[in-house]
Assembly symmetry: C2
Homo-oligomer: 336 residues x 2
């Protein structure tokens, strides 16, 4: 078995103190560039790799970010969070950080997991996903003094610009506004919306963008709006009746699953060319040649890490400044 | 700030030694059930949480499993690995383990990451994905003595049953065999295959199942087989010509992207009812009502953890026994 190089070996090889080697690894800004170079050369020559566990105890840092991975939900739009986790892993990796996944099926379970991660020093920060009104996870993290940022705005806050923690969210209303304006220009004046029935915060936000553009024209009550539980088949049934009853020039949808249902209904009723815009830009919408709004999860992941750590550093600010950012989705046009 | 309970506090509260508390946490099988109960009661009463970082140094275990998360590849079938990571996180969680993601764009980068994870004691085991012929990652892990299991068979091994490490893979050939038999029974005798052009190992495996059933009937050369680079649009073009030139009763495809292309070509040529079976059972295939082969990533994840740790334990066997398992995919029938 090959002898493993220690920090002392590196110090000897570079002709510096043990503390200097430690500083190069853990606080490089404290060390002159020429010394850093010498130490890095020694590290490479000896194949030295600082023991992460020991380093964690020494520096009180794990260089790890925690994020909950939900159970696989299936469905057309289930992939947006996955794309976000992919992007987060990539961006974290370029900063020398890793991503630790934890599973939690309920809020209670997630609160327990947050306590364990904080107690164990397993992560330096947590990224929350799927925020809701009066989010107990945010309160718990603030209480515990654990740095965190949220993918999702602080729903229900009087003024989201004055949140108590950093967050980034997709600007759903801006997306559906752009989609509605696009269809008004290309398809005609009668643009319907297909959304979810319950008053989900994300759904309301996406509906608002359409209503802000179409409302003044159609009058709030007569604007054609149907709702569906979210599945392809239900949306197909709902849009089938809509197309039979009303003259419709185009449809904006709160998700790609709804858009696919709407498209199948349009094909059925002899209007395969009916212009439809979905939301989430999934592979399924792409496969069917449907336009969609792209949430840009890569940009959201990069922005969250920047809020936690600044533009380039790999050290988490404690506590991070409470700023918010809405990322406007990009309209991907696939229908002529 | 609330005082944090220590292991000594727990020992005092339970009326046992510090070592006994440590055993309850790290080696419960060494402790009598009644003593375990007492210690657990004390742990709950005091809200004690063993410091994970300190515990890692003490036990030399991180209770963490590493898995590479690739860059998001997009496309219809990009979600199979994500479902696997979801399932792995859930199953690991029920065993008290976490999943650490690392990013690597090249084999070299992954070999470096494997060294770092091993040096740093950050993970107890690694799960490899996307195995290939002469996989240098497996060799490296064996060299390093890091326990690992692979999602993917040891391609190119003389006898996959005699591999040098544990692995689980989807039995592609068994899947397409079942799909071909299903179409022979339901659709007719002329069953085509749409696959990938290059000799990819996964693609060859999936083609083999179809050929084993159809070959004896059609003769190897006359079996209708077209290939496409993998995208929906390319498959659509290839199948359009196939359907013009030959009488076809049904199509087995190496992926859902190919199946969607085939379906769009069938609709175009006036045969929307043509029976098609895809592979991977994605949301896109489901949305279009296409049959598909489900890889069962949840079962694969559970089997890999069991190979590493036995049926229930959360302690990794060192080294794990080199066994292999092919999981037969499930045919999901959606067309009447």
């Amino acid at each position: 078995m090959q002898k493993v190089a220690t920090i002392e070996d590196v110090a000897r090889e570079a002709g510096v103190s043990r503390q200097t080697v430690s500083n190069v690894i853990n606080a490089p800004s404290k060390v002159r560039e020429s010394t850093r170079q010498k130490v890095h050369t020694a590290i490479e020559a000896l194949g030295y790799s600082p023991n992460a566990t020991a380093r964690r105890l020494r520096t009180q840092r794990s260089s790890t970010i925690g994020v909950r991975l939900d159970a696989f939900s299936g469905g057309v739009s289930g992939v947006v969070l996955d794309r976000f986790v992919h992007a987060l892993t990539e961006h974290a990796s370029t900063r020398g950080l890793r991503v630790l996944l934890y599973a939690a099926r309920t809020v209670e379970e997630e609160l327990r997991q947050i306590n364990e991660l904080a107690d164990g020093g397993e992560v330096d920060a947590i990224i929350l996903t799927g925020t809701s009104r009066e989010d107990r996870r945010a309160d718990r993290l603030l209480e515990r003094g654990m740095p965190f940022a949220a993918f999702g705005r602080p729903w229900g806050a009087d003024d989201i610009a004055k949140a108590d923690h950093p967050w980034v969210d997709c600007d759903g209303a801006a997306g559906t506004r752009a989609a509605t304006e696009h269809l008004l220009e290309r398809a005609g004046t009668r643009i319907a919306f297909v959304g979810w029935p319950s008053d989900s915060e994300t759904g309301d936000d996406r509906e608002r963008g359409w209503r802000e553009v179409i409302g003044p024209r159609a009058g709030d009550d007569s604007a054609p709006r149907v709702s569906s539980e979210g599945g392809v088949a239900e949306a197909q049934v709902a849009v089938r009746s809509l197309l039979r009853d009303k003259a419709i020039d185009g449809i904006v949808c709160a998700s790609d699953a709804l858009a696919i249902g709407a498209h199948l209904a349009a094909v059925e009723t002899g209007r395969p060319e009916l212009q439809i815009v979905g939301f989430d830009n999934t592979a399924a919408a792409e496969a069917l040649g449907l336009s969609s709004l792209e949430q840009l999860p890569e940009r959201i992941a990069a922005a969250l890490l920047e809020m936690l750590m600044g533009p380039e550093d790999s050290r988490i600010t404690h506590p991070p400044a409470p700023t918010g950012l809405l990322v406007k989705p990009q309209l991907i046009i696939r229908q002529a």
